[in-house]
Amino acid sequence: MTPKDPLVIGGKTITNRFFLGTGKFGDKKVMRTAIEKSGVEVVTVALRRVDQQQTPENLLDFVPENTILMINTSGARNARQAVTIARIARESLGINWVKIEVIDDSKYLLPDNQETIKCTEILAGEGFTVMPYIHPDLYVARELQKAGAASVMPLGSLIGSGEGLQARKFIEILIREIDLPVVVDAGIGVPSQAAEAMEMGADAVLANTAVSIARDPVQMARAFSLAVQAGRLAHRARSREIRGQASPSSPLTGFLFEESP
């Protein structure tokens, strides 16, 4: 979270790499305080939770101004429905950031990668900043990159499970191979898991349940924010041996191949 290390998505510069979902809070005022006190800059809101009429309980009224709002397409079971939801969000709320969430399985809530690609192609073509939520698959991520996605959002584990980075190996591959910000979404249950995702090189982490059902959501949001920051710093500072990657230069054996002067 240093000024020199911003994350740029959709032309916006983001300092806090912890993103927060707004569902599931027991008190919307507490949600607002959690966003404010943790310095969260990007939040997701499900269009289906937004009341079309002005009511005292309208979720959007509890999101602080200057927050980057990302509509999620929760409830969409195919690309057409997700596209419709994104268009409604843009027309009615002026929101251009969309988290594509196409789920046609109510038991495991796993995203439908194929429909997500179709939806991304259409919405990116219409100028949306598209953040697709996916099951981490390299081919799919490549297609999304070609389709104009602004990031990819692989699941850490099943939504609401709190099981952390069950998909770690596959997310690592995306981090290495895809030239888009990788935002780890879903299944992150505790701040240490968020830190782990960031240490491994994720660009941001999104959580919802872990914060919203905490005994003290405000402190938990802060803890996540700090963990994400710590993980990011660790990623940038760590030695390459630990990272398990081959070094591009050969400081130990390179001399054997040098031509004598």
Binding site: F25, D27, R48, R77, T84
Partner: protein
């Protein structure tokens, strides 16, 4: 899949430590999957004309009650009353009378409801797939249908005549609704008609089968307990409060992402506790008679509600328990 003897063992086990353990697990799973929220809805009875003889029902065609159905103007009055309370999820109900409440009448009600509500469900007599398609296109996003009991013999006993006598046609109703593209389905039994363990087991099997065939549908279960009519000749398998708690907790543990509804037929003291054991959706300030909201009458109800609190009182109760009331959890986006 849990076996019938296992369900029976759970319902028979009254060890307080066991029950507490079950409840804690259920609460954790509920919060993980649904957060600290409870969705609210209200029922709207359109018509109490009925051609069925369900011996346990207050709309049974053999009963001498005042029969009526709402006109479009009456519907709007009722809808406006409910919407003024803040409710955005509406459940439309009718008795089974293709003459007085045909699909075209229901469609009219659904279109009117679209002016006031973001979520529109129907709890009506079973329809054909094509009829569900028409209602879905008009704005219906959920269908509720109870098998009442999965015990065929008892089903025949309680439904001696009328179209509802056809067990299999009713059993296949959720399937027809899913085929028609209805995105949310609610199933249930009326606890008391059959043996609770057997009915619950059959309900779980029905649900599992549907979840495999139609994985994209959002499912919910309702857990109504029978309220015997005055002078009812039948003896029911009454589900105790303790066993209702077990049914709710067990359902949550076996089906973590499935919604569980609890209506105002349960008293406030029960509802206020069950929302921590797995319930995710409750009705508020319900009227179960035709025109009940604007006429403010209690006469000729399908059943008498036990939790009479206002929406405001329900909200205060939820907030005092750390739960956020959700009014809007659906938006109609056309039949894309």
């Amino acid at each position: 899949m849990i076996s019938l003897p296992e369900i029976t063992a759970v319902l028979k086990n009254d060890d307080p430590a066991f029950l507490e353990q079950l409840a804690r697990r259920a609460r954790r799973l509920t919060r993980m999957h649904f957060g600290n929220t409870i969705s609210l809805y209200a029922p709207l009875y359109l018509s109490n004309y009925c051609e069925n003889f369900c011996t346990y029902c207050g709309f049974n065609c053999g009963l001498d009650i005042h029969r009526s159905r709402l006109t479009p103007a009456g519907m709007e009055k009722e809808m406006a009353c409910i919407a003024r309370k803040g409710i955005r999820n509406l459940l439309l109900l009718t008795g089974e009378s293709p003459r007085h409440s045909p699909p075209s009448y229901l469609k009219e009600a659904v279109i009117l409801a679209g002016k006031y509500f973001s979520g529109i469900g129907v709890e009506i007599y079973p329809l054909q797939t094509e009829e569900y398609k028409i209602l879905h296109a008009a704005g219906v996003d959920s269908v509720t249908v109870y098998q009442e009991t999965y015990d065929r013999k008892r089903y025949a006993h309680y439904h001696p005549a009328g179209r509802k006598r056809d067990y299999d046609y009713r059993y296949q109703t959720p399937q027809r609704a899913a085929e028609a593209g209805i995105p949310r389905l609610t199933l249930g039994v009326l606890f008391g008609l059959g043996k609770p363990a057997a009915d619950l087991h059959a309900l779980y099997r029905h649900l599992e089968d549907l979840m495999k065939r139609y994985p994209g549908v959002e499912y919910a279960l309702s857990v109504p307990r029978i309220i015997p009519l005055p002078d009812a000749p039948d003896r029911y398998h009454i589900l105790s409060d303790r066993n209702l708690a077990k049914v709710i907790a067990l359902t949550r543990i076996l089906f973590p992402s499935v919604g569980i509804n609890l209506s105002t037929r349960e008293p406030a003291a029960i509802r206020d506790r069950m929302i921590h054991l797995g319930v995710t959706r409750i009705s508020a300030e319900s009227k179960t008679m035709v025109g009940g909201y604007y006429r403010k009458t209690e006469e000729d109800a399908q059943f008498y509600i036990k939790d009479q609190r206002s929406v405001g009182e329900i909200l205060r109760m939820l907030k005092s328990q750390g739960l956020d009331p959700v009014f809007t959890d659906w938006r109609r986006i056309g039949s894309a």
